[in-house]
Chain length 599, copies 2
Amino acid sequence: MSEPPRHHRLMFADLGREIEGLDEESVLHAARRAGVRIVGACGGRGTCGSCMIRVAQGKIESHAGEDLARHHRWRRACQSRIRSDCTIQIAPRSLAPVARAEVGHRQEAPLVADSAITGRDITVPPASLADHRSDWERVAEALDARVSPPDLDALSVLPGLLRANDWSVRVRQEAGHVLGFAAPGRRELGLAVDLGTTNLAAFLIRLDTGERLASLGIENPQAAWGGDVISRINHAIQAHDGAEELRAAVVRGIDAITQDLVRAVGAGIGDVVEAAVCGNTAMHHLLAGLPVTQLGRAPFVPAVSAGLTPRATALGLALAPGARVHLVPNIGGFVGGDHVAALLASEQHWRSGCCLVMDIGTNTEISLIHEGRIVSASCPSGPALEGGHVSCGMRAAIGAIERVSVEAGRLRVSTIGRKKAVGVCGSGVLDAMAALLEGGMMERSGRLRAGHPDVVEIDGLRSARLAKDIHFTQHDVRAVQLAKSAIRTGMELLLRQAGIEATQLERIVIAGAFGAYLSVDSAVDIGLLPDLPRERFLQVGNAAGLGVCRMLVNRADRARAQDIARGARYLELSSIADFQQHFLKHISLNGPWRERKIS
Amino acid sequence: MSEPPRHHRLMFADLGREIEGLDEESVLHAARRAGVRIVGACGGRGTCGSCMIRVAQGKIESHAGEDLARHHRWRRACQSRIRSDCTIQIAPRSLAPVARAEVGHRQEAPLVADSAITGRDITVPPASLADHRSDWERVAEALDARVSPPDLDALSVLPGLLRANDWSVRVRQEAGHVLGFAAPGRRELGLAVDLGTTNLAAFLIRLDTGERLASLGIENPQAAWGGDVISRINHAIQAHDGAEELRAAVVRGIDAITQDLVRAVGAGIGDVVEAAVCGNTAMHHLLAGLPVTQLGRAPFVPAVSAGLTPRATALGLALAPGARVHLVPNIGGFVGGDHVAALLASEQHWRSGCCLVMDIGTNTEISLIHEGRIVSASCPSGPALEGGHVSCGMRAAIGAIERVSVEAGRLRVSTIGRKKAVGVCGSGVLDAMAALLEGGMMERSGRLRAGHPDVVEIDGLRSARLAKDIHFTQHDVRAVQLAKSAIRTGMELLLRQAGIEATQLERIVIAGAFGAYLSVDSAVDIGLLPDLPRERFLQVGNAAGLGVCRMLVNRADRARAQDIARGARYLELSSIADFQQHFLKHISLNGPWRERKIS
């Protein structure tokens, strides 16, 4: 006979949260279940070290059964099994913050509203024994007798609304077609969602004016199944009902954030009549319930690239009855709708001339625009440049080292909020690399040099000491080298297929949260970006977020995004014969990129 | 502390079924739950006597706690509470038969197929690193680059189909628009459903040829909540989640019958790419998830009258991915899509001239067509004419008395299948009335006359003896009188508003299962139908079923039905000032309807 599993109480004192865990369950898993947001970039496989905890009280074992509490050391939450009631401290850098950086567009450009959706209050003659037409016919006549009825979920609220509001009702139409109904006087709001692998940012916007009413960011709830796209795809393919688990998780996340947003502005779910969602192709497919098997193996083909506009109900999202969701089109398996949205939002910067648009992240999407043509590629750069999979890496939050420089031969750091350093975020990682080179603490090959007071051995691993307890290890250097090489190779191969040189680039648009804060000088120093006049670089912040907001409120922008996606050509880098040679060549840090000709 | 409810075993020996019942539960309720189909026309309120059972063994109590088993008498199943394991016999007339009569059209007219849906096998170039377009784009190019993607549920099966069939796939299109996909070589089938209050008949049809492949009828599973429309509406309004219970029940019923149909012809659910459903307005609203509150009280207004074509998924029906369902438009709160379908199917009989089309049932719909205009009314005739709410009433099944005549002054009956009489069905009820008049056993007022050998007292109630244990009581006579008067009044008021006389009617089309078998002579004898030359009457059988089949396979018929529904005017009889006077006048059986002028 199997006994029921034993339960233990886990106290997170710093958060004031007490949760329940099962005996032998990992701390990370228990925390995820209860919504305590510990970063776990590798999805709990024990490979990244982003989920660090310390046991203040109670019994925690390793998988091998070793009692960990005795050491009072930082341990991976995913490798720590609960064996009694515990009090646990989460490392500051492992606390998943609400990602405000993802929400704000660098330039809060006003949105130009031209929504196809309008709302209008009408009053119809009451039903009587002498006038027993249906409710819908009554409304249709007040509008235009030839209009078709809306979807059933929208129609089903009409009888109640008419009778509760003295035969008045608000009719929402889109280009003549009736979408749904509401109580008289309600507004028409839209929801724009930037659905990243890591974060989910949402914006509530008035469709008539384009006014942004509120915005909010949360961690993508799918993070519980792994920090990167490949982990999620694997879960969807291998686990029973895995795809449905992931779909339901992100739907719950969007529903929750929508609830918070409408509450914040005194509106209701029934006011959200339209949504637009951009995300990479995997996020798109998982939300849409499309299969990802073919996306996870060569030749990495999407089920669909065109823009889709399903009913919110078909996605399982709770919006106004009759609401539609615009899913931003993608360009290929690894260049998704988020990049299309970023291209849309930055179009004024690349419309003419020769230009690169890039969004640096775990996957770095790059588009080369040249002679009116767009060619896009995806570089598997890994999370290192965002501070992920780096031993002391963290998000851009309070206490994160965001700048590293060399002063009098020693490393100097500054942190976000000028607080005690708790980890290093993406821009700090890039600066650290440049500073190590500049200070002579690292060879061009990437090897850290012993003998410098800031280069130490930690657990037998050569590391640069950035601050007390914050080290940048030889492994971290290697991870950044791989990221740099992936991106550099992608840029070079894109340029080569177009037959142009880096110096011909008139503009390099760097989009994304990390890109907003990186030091272009550092990136040039390590050879990530070409050494061009600095005025050619433009850091535009969360262009994907801005783009999806524009697509929500403006139908011309929606059409334009469709054109951009359809017109862009996807270049699969791994299919290029000498991709591997280029990649290997660029791992070393051979100084700034000034070559005039790419071989 | 409440104890868990006790369970008892109920054995239905004649059916070879053993089910479980809860202590104190009614036999009817337990049978319904388990799918043992006992007729229960009043929905278990104890008013109709159509759910008769006898306890062979075990303990059954009345609501008052009286032990019923001792008497070994026929009892209402709805008023019998289970107190122990029991062996139970269901009265033959209370066994709900599969209603084959509903399925067959009197004339199996060939269907003229002109479906907008076509299927076509295509082969696309395989995906490769050199050709990494999305699956959809691959298909779209093979069709026409400007075609839009189908719904998500349809799109989601494409990647699997392409890879399982060596990059071939069957594409289903409707007027250029892509509906969905299937394995190469599959057929395109359609499902037509005549969703009656009592029975649900379904037809599986090839969309390309119009060939009827199979048909099947079952009792409407909503019958568990009452035999008539009003009981169902009341349940939807009053019970928590009542509307959803009713919706789910009928969806389960349609899904089950569809499964049986496709299995019978070696097809699959994925081949059923389109459906059409006709039903009265309440059945329509309950299936569509539309509210019925406003339909259940004056002025009895539908939420919508226009035809709707929701996704099968929006109704919760399991058909092919991307399938749509045509919901036949209605004319008013009590003249539904089933009548529209009957009008469509019988149009050749009424197109020119002055004509009545009627479908006699619990609710009798009548349309008067005169000078190209259609005016429709609904008469609350009750179930008596179908053998419901009649003490020994039953469906038209084996053993049902279907004909009653007078020979040598005595009543003579004949039964369906020439078997021992077990009850009386609708056509027998009408004949019985005419025979009682003819044989002088009943006064024109409807009062049964004592003294005749076939008129006896049963439990203190004067009754005509039709066969051994089968009686037609004074109450039954009254029920038929009310039904006759309701229909007669409706016809008269329709004629009066058009300013014409009954003798001017060139054609009376009688649709429906009951109408197919009624004796026009008997109906004329009791004054239900006008005494016109018999060749003017046309009994067309299940015209609604034929009509919905035609709407499924032929788009012109769909458009025509929409026109018929839109053009028809609904006359609310109860709003006519002297409706009540007419109704009271026609309760008595004042001989054939030969008046030249209706006052």
